[in-house]
């Protein structure tokens, strides 16, 4: 009897903690969405605490008619798509030779790339290199300097290493060269790993703010994250006025709050939309990363 009481306390705690975790994580998002869908007067009177009050899409109309958001949206999509395609292609090209036991430069090249994880030139020398190469204010600066991420190459390499060598041997008897082996045999086998890496790279590009801050001064090349920083953090009055259009100071203040929260929602919609489809890969991705460091 006493034991079952203890166990019930245990389960009570388990459910309490889990529910608390869900509420704490979810609430900020619900609140942001609710503000974005509420009327200005309701926001002004601070009536919104959980669900939208006086449902309206005015905030979205205001933000979406602003051209700069579309430019930065387009740029982010460009960086993400082009960047991720090149990343995956290059990661395979890097990982395959490094995974082949027979390759005579294998050890040397493995060290060649692993070394960069522990030692680098640092911010200033890299910055100077990028400007010398003429990549400053070029689209490619978001893509080329991060062609591969070494850690991901290593994950991909161990996936290739997991393929039984007999498969390659029989292919080589059939006259396949290493290029054919990579694209016809190895890549199809490690597809699940590549799916996880695609996810990692894509999220990285979508959220990449630092490179843009350093290297993209030109406004029509800047990604969504830079635009968001101006709206959310610097609360740039110029943007606020253009988007909000309010005249009285108090009305302006409130509509800017809505502009900010609508911008958040607009920027995370793509992630939320594809999220359910990629979710099943998370566990695999995490364990992949953990196997080999």
């Amino acid at each position: 009897m006493r034991k079952s009481m203890t166990d019930r306390t245990y389960y009570g705690l388990v459910y309490f903690i889990t529910i608390l975790a869900v509420v704490v994580t979810l609430y900020p998002f619900v609140y942001v969405i609710s503000i974005s869908l509420s009327s200005v007067s309701a926001i002004d009177k601070q009536l919104v605490t959980l669900l939208p009050v006086d449902f309206t899409l005015e905030g979205y109309k205001m933000v979406l008619q602003y051209p700069e958001i579309w430019t930065s949206y387009y740029n982010t999509i460009w960086y993400t798509v082009v960047g991720t395609i090149l990343n995956i292609f290059a990661t395979c090209l890097a990982a395959f030779p490094l995974s082949r036991a027979k390759f005579f430069l294998r050890r040397k090249l493995n060290f060649f790339i692993a070394f960069t994880m522990y030692f680098s030139g640092g911010l200033i020398p890299v910055y100077m290199l990028i400007t010398t190469l003429g990549l400053y204010n070029s689209r490619w600066v978001m893509v080329l300097p991060v062609l591969v991420i070494t850690f991901n190459v290593m994950i991909c390499r161990s996936a290739f290493e997991g393929i039984p060598n007999e498969i390659f041997e029989s292919a080589s008897i059939d006259g396949a060269n290493d290029l054919t082996m990579l694209f016809r045999i190895a890549v199809p086998i490690v597809k699940p790993t590549l799916a996880v890496l695609t996810l990692y790279y894509a999220v990285f590009h979508w959220n990449n703010f630092f490179s843009a801050l350093l290297y993209l001064g030109k406004q029509d090349l800047q990604p969504l994250q830079i635009f968001l920083r101006r709206v959310l953090i610097m609360a740039s009055p110029e943007i606020m006025q253009k988007m909000g259009g309010g005249t009285a100071t108090s009305a302006l203040a409130v509509s800017t709050l809505q502009v900010r929260y609508v911008s958040i929602v607009v920027s995370i919609i793509p992630i939320i939309t594809i999220y359910p489809f990629i979710q099943r890969y998370f566990v695999k991705g995490i364990t992949l990363g953990a196997v080999k460091g």
Partner: protein, 296 residues
């Protein structure tokens, strides 16, 4: 002849070699400007050598201890206050019997990991805003005075640490959930025969079984301790909070990129890497001695 045999592998790797050579290895000699009075027009070969002048200047400056302390604290606080939370959450999630709720809880708590730092920082700043932030609205409704959170140095560490935990605990729990799920069920069966209750089961069976995972992850995070994310600090701090918020990487950015003080900034960057290096290796060494587990 090996070259001939492996020619396709060599061709394959060539673009990767070029990438690493250009973007990773070419900047390395740039470290030399930490020992120079670097003038962009003159280049590395033309600028004057100044030995350790920048390092000494930095060590003697009034910002030295402040930057070191902030970098350490902003790195250690999330670890200190946040390390156990994913473990606790993982233990709870595994115990949830209702499959739908379990999936729901996991889906929701993983989400913040995929939201960009800019959005997270933006949410923090706007929620805490003294004019229209929800937190201050609630505070005034409770009859207390508004707090200008983002302008008070005393709040910065709490905000930084708290949001860091909020953002990462769900996703970090995945690996523990996987570890708990892979524990041999027979262990629990024999526990039941011995009549242990759920708390004893947790303490004597679950936690010891996932100890290796815990140690490895602790090690990994100790290694990363000095690489405090530049982005989040940069987005959250301002002149009013430098006192508790300014870290080595943001200082390097301000001195180097904004101030064009290349030699000085490179020296501080190098200083930061050296400390990281020492930390990673000592964490690894320590763990090999203490637990026989290490990263390499």
């Amino acid at each position: 002849m090996l070259i001939r045999r492996d020619k396709y592998l060599l061709i394959m790797f060539l673009p990767i070699f070029l990438y690493y050579f250009i973007f990773m290895y070419l900047p390395m000699p740039g470290i030399l400007i930490a020992f120079q009075d670097y003038i962009p027009g003159k280049g590395i070969f033309g600028s004057d050598w100044v030995g350790f002048r920048w390092f000494i200047q930095f060590a003697e400056s009034k910002y030295f201890w402040r930057l070191l302390r902030n970098t350490f604290l902003l790195a250690f606080y999330p670890l200190l206050f946040g390390f156990s939370i994913p473990i606790l959450f993982a233990i709870c999630v595994v115990e949830i019997k209702n499959r739908t709720f379990k999936r729901f809880a996991q889906t929701i708590t993983y989400l913040p990991h995929f939201i960009s730092t800019v959005v997270i920082a933006g949410m923090i700043i706007n929620f805490l805003s003294p004019t229209d932030g929800i937190i201050n609205t609630l505070i005034t409704k409770l009859g207390m005075d508004k707090i200008n959170f983002m302008m008070e140095p005393g709040w910065f560490r709490a905000i930084f640490t708290g949001s860091d935990i909020w953002q990462s605990f769900g996703f970090s729990s995945i690996i523990y959930i996987a570890a708990i799920m892979s524990i041999d069920p027979e262990l629990y069966d024999s526990g039941k025969i011995d009549g242990v209750n759920k708390f004893q089961e947790l303490w004597h069976l679950t936690l010891p079984s996932i100890k290796p995972t815990i140690v490895i992850l602790l090690l990994l995070s100790l290694g990363g301790v000095m690489s405090v994310g530049f982005e989040k600090v940069y987005l959250l701090y301002n002149g009013a909070t430098y006192e508790t918020a300014d870290v080595l990487s943001t200082y390097v950015y301000r001195m180097g990129i904004e101030g064009q003080n290349f030699g000085f900034a490179t020296a501080i960057g190098l200083f930061n890497s050296i400390i990281t290096f020492v930390l990673v290796f000592s964490a690894n060494w320590l763990s090999r001695r203490a637990t026989n587990m290490s990263l390499w």
